[in-house]
């Protein structure tokens, strides 16, 4: 990840002698050392063209989602009279229908509530576990670390049937607690693994000093390790939150009543009926369900990336 300080040598400048112009160009040149080998037309074909095709394909569904959400019904269904790639009369009708004629706000609230609770629970458990594995070095810490990594690889789609019976036995069926207690099984392995990586970067010496000064392990964790691991905590938090928001199969299995559902499940189950005019509000619902995450992502891009790559790297 760290960019090594590569000496930037402008070969043309070197060949034409140390002129002031070349020196200035070399100083302004922030590119990699070998980029002078590429001409612009070549870069257009090998870099910009394929890149723009991929980016357009990756982003088109969102454009389509947003466009459908604000298109009036007659334009949506009459492809011959109106150009489908644009709309001339944007409308908020679909969004209004979504917000005031369905439980959408309640579903959003459910999703948010479940995601925040499950994330907080998982982060607390993971901080303790990661600290113990990395710094207490108890007997078998390596094994526990490996087991937690394996737990990360157990997918929800082989657990949902037995978990449904467990949830039913505990009387949690159709309550948010069914999700709040089961989501951590997905989140804890991931965030423990991520936080272990962060805790390893904190120097031992700080802890040793604190131990000599008579601090307990708990004080060390709260007053020394956690403040230093804040970037890691943010990464773990937003990534867990995203995973919760994205989770589908548990929410589909453990929740039954319409008003208890989370956004992804509710949209798939409640909006999908035979109505030919459903597309506008369906897409509005999908858009509104994605926006909170996209906004969060926009603020914390770096943390997302470090969470993703960190979990893979360790």
């Amino acid at each position: 990840m760290t960019d090594l300080p590569v000496p930037k040598v402008d070969l043309k400048g070197v060949l034409s002698g140390p002129s002031a112009r070349a020196a200035a160009a070399a100083a302004d040149d922030h590119s990699e050392g070998m980029s002078y080998l590429e001409s612009l037309p070549r870069r257009l074909v090998t870099l910009y063209l394929p890149l723009s095709i991929i980016v357009i394909v990756l982003l088109f569904p969102f454009y389509w989602m947003a466009l459908t959400a604000i298109k009036p019904d007659d334009q949506l269904l009459d492809l011959d009279k109106f150009n489908p790639f644009w709309t001339t009369a944007p409308t908020l009708k679909h969004i209004q229908k979504l917000l005031f004629e369905s439980h959408y706000v309640g579903w959003l609230w459910n999703t948010m509530f479940v995601a925040v609770c499950a994330t907080v629970l998982s982060i607390v458990a993971s901080v303790l576990a990661a600290y113990a594995i990395v710094r207490l070095r108890f007997r078998g810490a390596h094994w526990i670390g490996g087991l937690i990594f394996l737990a990360y690889l157990v997918p929800p789609s082989i657990l949902f049937i037995p978990l449904a019976t467990v949830v039913f036995q505990y009387g949690l069926f159709d309550t948010p607690f069914a999700l709040i207690l089961t989501y951590p099984t997905i989140l804890i392995p991931f965030s423990t693994w991520l936080l272990m990586g962060y805790f390893k970067t904190i120097p031992y010496e700080l802890e040793e000093c604190a131990l000599i000064d008579g601090a307990s392990r708990w004080q060390i964790l709260v007053k020394i390790v956690l403040p230093l691991a804040i970037p890691g905590l943010i990464s773990a938090f937003i990534f867990c939150f995203t995973l919760c928001w994205n989770e589908f199969i548990y929410a589909l299995t453990f929740l039954q009543s319409v008003e208890n559902k989370t956004v992804p499940v509710a949209i798939v189950n409640e909006f999908v009926d035979g109505d030919i005019y459903r597309w506008g509000s369906l897409m509005a619902g999908a858009l509104a369900g994605s926006l909170p995450l996209v906004v969060l992502y926009a603020f914390f891009v770096e943390h997302y990336v470090s969470a993703m790559t960190g979990a893979v790297k360790e």
């Binding site: 980016v55 449904a164 589908f248 199969i249 992502y297």
Partner: protein
């Protein structure tokens, strides 16, 4: 001198010996038990126990609302002769292999492109990751609409380019439906592969490429002999994750086709949901999902060997 020695002993007297409790309080193992407790409680109660319970249920004839009795391998024998189950196994393998292979190729290509120097690099990288951030179900719904039989924008564009005369029945035709769900899965998985591989690419030192250029290496040789070997460990891990999550995919299929048309897109996960929750045959559904475990173990073995290889390359103290 003797006086001084006596004094110091007298001063030390009020300090009591460390009791068993004091020693316990600083014992690493004892402390670790308390630190590990919350995480372990969650993982044992809601992960390890259900994992075992699932295998047990697959040996019973449990139905929703009725605990089953042990019936041995009957569920598995039943599945062995069930053509829909074998179709779902075939679909799952096809889906996993095709989607993962293309995800890897496109992801690696995209990572190489993003690693170049260009204007707006940071913004482009951020944009590329958006499909990964948005909940799968919601983007799957967008694809459902894009692939709609009547109002598909793709059919419309192709018709107006005079390439086809009739709308394509994307999700109604067996092969088109498989292609569409695989495409949606690739669309969703490419950003993850690309961004993680990009992180790996950034650790490759530019001086290696400079040296290779001086030695007259072509672009392909540089990729084959510098980039690829240095990326192998991270590729192993990323692709394990990718294969694993593709293999157990549920939500994309459920939102787009629900296994149709005529079970052509049923994966093992969707079939087990249909049998267990919708039809109520918990035992049979559990048998289908337990049948996924051998495949997952194989994927985990690959990941493990990938990690071993990484240790070998980077030295033992590899954090």
């Amino acid at each position: 001198m003797a006086d001084i020695a006596l004094d110091s002993r007298a001063a030390r007297r009020p300090v009591r010996d460390a009791s068993a409790w004091d020693r316990l309080k600083v014992n690493r193992d004892w402390l670790a038990v308390w630190f590990m407790l919350p995480a372990m409680a969650f993982l044992i109660l809601f992960l390890a126990y259900p994992l075992g319970l699932g295998i047990w249920i697959s040996f019973t004839d449990a139905k929703i609302g009725r605990p089953g009795e042990y019936i041995g391998f009957e569920n598995y024998e039943w599945l062995w002769e069930d053509s829909i189950f074998w179709l779902s196994v075939f679909n799952t393998l096809l889906y996993t292999f095709v989607a993962s292979a293309i995800k890897f190729a496109v992801g690696l290509y995209l990572a190489l492109l993003l690693n170049e120097n260009m204007p707006f690099k940071a913004i482009l990288r951020a944009l590329v990751l958006i499909p990964f951030i948005v909940p799968t179900v919601l983007s799957a719904l967008a694809f459902w609409w894009i692939f709609d039989a009547q109002f598909s924008i793709i059919s419309w564009s192709l018709r107006h380019l005079d390439l086809i005369t009739e709308n394509i029945n994307f999700l109604g035709d067996v092969n088109w439906a498989r292609g569409c769900v695989i495409f949606a899965n690739i669309w969703r998985g490419v950003p993850f592969v690309a961004i993680t591989l990009l992180a790996g690419l950034q650790t490759v030192q530019p001086s290696l490429y400079e040296a290779a250029t001086i030695d007259g290496a072509t672009k392909w040789q540089m990729f084959r002999h510098i980039t690829y070997p240095l990326l192998t460990p991270i590729i192993a891990v990323v692709m394990t994750f990718s294969v694993l999550f593709t293999f157990t995919d549920f939500q994309l299929i459920w939102a787009m086709t629900r296994g149709g048309p005529v079970n052509a897109t049923h994966l093992m996960a969707t079939l087990s949901y249909q049998r267990a929750i919708i039809a109520g045959q918990l035992g049979e559904g559990a048998a289908i999902s337990s049948a996924m475990i051998p495949f997952l173990l194989a994927a985990i073995m690959v990941s493990w060997f990938g990690l071993q290889r990484r240790k070998w390359q980077h030295g033992e103290a590899n954090d």
